[in-house]
Amino acid sequence: MSTYTDVTKGGGQSRRSDAAEARIALAKRFAGCMFLAFVLALMIGTQEGTQDDFGYAFRKSVFAPRIGIFALIGVAVFLAVTFWPRIVPYLSRAGVRPLAAGALTVVVSFTLLNWTDSTDLNNGKFGGLRPAAAQTGGIDPVARLFFGSAFSLTPWLLLLIVVALVAAAIRFEDSSTLGYVGGGLAIVFGIWAQYAQSAVRSFLDYPDHSTGAGVALLGFVTIGVSGIVVARSHGKADSGGFFQRVYDWRPGMPLVALGAVVGLVGLFSAAWFSPTDRNAGIGLTSTMFHGTGLSGFSAAYLAWLAYVLFFATLILAGAASYLRHHLLGWVAAGLGVVSLLVTLYVMHDFSGLAAQSKFDGATGAWDNLGTGGWMLCGALTVLAGAGYLVARHEQVEVPDAAPGVSSDAALAAGSKLGPALLVVIIASALFFPPTATQFWQTVLVTEIGIYVLLAIGLNVVVGWAGLLDLGFIAFYAIGSYTTAYLTGRLPVKPPSFLELTPLAAIPFAIVICLVAGVLLGAPTLRLRGDYLAIVTLGFGEIIRVVANNSTPVTNGSRGAFNIPPPEIHIGPLDIKWGDNVLGYWYLLLVFVVIVVLLFNRLEHSRLGRAWAAIREDEVAAQATGINTVRVKLLAFAIGASTSGVAGVYFASQIGSFTPENFILNNSILVVAYVVFGGMGSLPGAMAGAAVLTWLPEFLRDQVPAEDRQMWIGAVILLMMIFRPAGLIPARRRRAELGGLDKKDSSETTAVPAGEGM
């Protein structure tokens, strides 16, 4: 096992024939794939060993007949990897990637997602709903047909048909008819799925937030787009190029199409009003409120104005996009916003009235609303956004006077789809949460949103300044305890003039976290990477342990409780957050938006560049005149204060917390979120946190609760293996990849780069 034998062995290997080498590589790969299958079998097995029999779960997983399935999976992976170079050319052909993505989405919607929230059907997934819906007599026959006639195979058959059609269109390059037929059928099937679900929903008459049919529609539409792409491109361009062409052709069009679909579903298919046991569409809602004293305006809205406003906006936005008309774009944007406000007003009006006039089950303004109104709001936002983009697009077109003066403009050129995506994200952030179930709203507010905020803060420290901080949660704890102190919920009371409402505690939390960040940073920042990591880790633990043990000050392990919810009393503004989860969501949204706007500026400022400089090469940065200690301290302090704000929010939203909320594991998780999403990339860090906090809650439905962390670990691991730069890599970070070791081996090239779709 010495160096010397290594060398001779190496020499021996090179004397082997290439064929033998290839065989050995293949054998190794095969062994690897079978090992993978074996691990998968262990992961999916549901049994656990006991103290008396440690091998039980292992034997059950490995020696049960089902191991054959996993062996097959292993073989399939082996074949896919081996023949990957031959698959690649197909993948880049027009329509293939959307087809695959669409088919996958549909499969997911059939298997993993809920199609109903009804408690009558204890399994809300497609499989649970299908037999019930197929046998129920009172349901619309068209809907019943979807859920299964002959062998309950209809939905799968539908999927198979369209996939086969589109695939055939791709195979026979000249066949644009096949493409159109397949694509058109796919869209029809998508609408059918949506219709079938809404028929079941109205039959069950139960408030419903399930997303199954919506996702199925999305998948089918993607397949449809794939078919149309195939038909139009005649095998020449790839679909990415095709989309780029569409976008270059009419920048607002994708948004207009999206707005049309969402709006139509919202107006014609979804429920607008659903107190306890009914799902009333907009028409039914209109009749329900006949003669209840609803204001004339709202009545008119429900009766006809909604349609007029929506279609007017849609047509205007479409025309503006098509004609690339600047002024029309502004008009569409304006009308969209006005319609949006009107819609919101009406929704508030009738839901408030329902509660006042004691409708059965109506609880208050903004309550009991179905998804329809919110979908229409989302659609109007998207359409307004489309109009706005069209209006702005013309202005951007003006040739840049000083070439390259704005380096950021050049960067933005790479991602033209950015603004459109932003519009969609804004629309869904505003109007998706109200349509979600109580469970998901709570998750959004207590997990996803908070960790997004924390990830944004840590991204400054880890992503931009390149300092590994494993004790970030400590600042979050400091923010929370500051709030508890200032609202008088700790054993130590603040002086009376300092007793504040939670929101007023924010500046204090920021200042205290700034100071804490500087206090921690000042002595330790000259430590290099990994030393800094362990010191920050220690700091995090110290804060937690101190909080846990200083009972006279912090109430020890019992933590703080009864922290009042946030409230605002400034002049005419008088808001008090209470039990409604949604209110907290919008508050959080305000925080996130402010922080993102500020930090986005910061990234492209002098300080942002200085951070990048010290991260890339500290010695050179010093020689260039950067005071590295100061710059690092700023990163620490700014990151810490963001975390402090998150702490204030957390404390006042959750009302009570204990030191257990601030364990080391959470610090590590936040680092994982940032890196998973893409270090140094603001959208990346947010996406990473959102995905990884959403995943465990999503898995709650899919795998045994105790196994969730295992799956998350696997997801993180896979992500890092196949896409080490993260979900949305930072532009500045992307350059660093491909450094170090560029040695290309067959193994690495055999693996997809994780790009695309």
Binding site: S2, T3, L527, D530, L537, F539, G713, L717, L737
Partner: protein, 316 residues
């Protein structure tokens, strides 16, 4: 006085465990300059692996003669080391090598290791159990005192742990400093590209480094299991402590890891025994963590590269 010495023995016992785990951190850090965050799960696998083997050979309640104890000890250490080495090697192949090939940023390795760590500890929980107090067969816990002089007692388990840890560390130190494998490890640690030019297979050397570190951690898992308990989440706390110990001694430095581990164990055990400690009124075992960390921070601020500096294999 004898009380103090008893505490020293306790501290050394705990410290040997930290040192054994810390060696794995330090070895990997030496060659790759990265924290193998999943190392604590290698430690955990060693405990489960050795339990399965030892339990298959013996049964609970037996009181073996001295040769039996040695036999079980060798078997346990050997199987723990084998399982630890296998898991560490798998870790290198799955969680590190692909990233190295892609030239991933350093933090990606850390996160990949965190993912692997979650995965391994939860998979173990799924396959075995999620109780946090599994015990090895009782004969290992016999508090037979091998040394009892003037009130100073060293129990069998303590003696086994301290002696076998010392033997393994001596072995490792000799190997790294005297053998050709050791010199290739040091060469890669020093300058990987040049080492590659000299005909050293970098991938192999890295894999072997993982195997050695994994074997030590696996053996430590067996020792930990016999002394305390074992569970699927047992790795986390000792892992963090051992990492701190490695940093304390100067990460990448083998003797530093040993020194750091022993020191940390001693600090943790001895701190609460000092009279002034009680005078401060800070009773409660958690405070030792705080003070231990504060000492760590203090040492690092004074000596930013740890007690013995960073060079792998360099004689202190």
């Amino acid at each position: 006085m004898h009380e103090f010495l008893n505490y020293v023995v306790l501290g050394l016992t705990r410290g040997s465990m930290y040192a054994l785990i810390a060696l794995g951190y330090t070895l990997v850090y030496g060659v790759l300059q990265l924290i193998n965050f999943a190392h604590s799960e290698v430690f955990m696998s060693g405990a489960f692996g050795s339990y399965l083997v030892v339990n298959a050979v013996t049964h609970d309640g037996a009181h073996p003669a001295w040769y039996g104890v040695i036999g079980i000890l060798v078997l346990g250490l050997g199987s723990g080391a084998a399982v630890g080495a296998a898991v560490a090697y798998g870790l290198e192949r799955v969680a590190y090598r692909p990233l190295r090939r892609r030239g991933a940023p350093k933090l990606a390795f850390l996160i990949s290791a965190i993912g692997a760590s979650f995965f391994l500890s939860q998979l173990a929980g799924k396959l075995f159990n999620r109780l946090n107090n599994n015990d090895f067969p009782t004969y290992f816990n016999v508090n037979h005192h091998v040394v009892a002089v003037a009130g100073v007692t060293v129990s069998l388990v303590q003696a086994i742990i301290i002696v076998s840890a010392l033997v393994m560390m001596l072995f490792l130190d000799t190997m790294v400093n005297r053998t050709k494998l050791g010199s290739s490890i040091r060469a890669v640690a020093e300058d990987a590209p040049t080492a590659a030019l000299m005909g050293i297979d970098i991938d192999k050397t890295i894999a072997r480094t993982f195997i050695i570190g994994g074997a030590l951690a696996g053996a430590a898992g067996f020792l930990f299991g016999t002394a305390y308990f074992f569970s699927n989440t047992m790795g986390f706390i000792p892992g963090v402590k051992a990492f701190a110990a490695a940093v304390l001694g100067g990460i990448g430095n083998i003797r530093g890891a040993m020194l750091g581990g022993m020191l940390l164990g001693l600090i943790e055990v001895l701190l609460p025994t000092f009279p002034w400690w009680h005078a401060t009124g800070l009773i409660g075992i958690q405070w030792t963590d705080v003070v231990a960390f504060l000492i760590l921070v203090l040492i690092l601020v004074l000596r930013p590269t740890g007690l013995l500096g960073e060079k792998l294999g360099r004689a202190a």
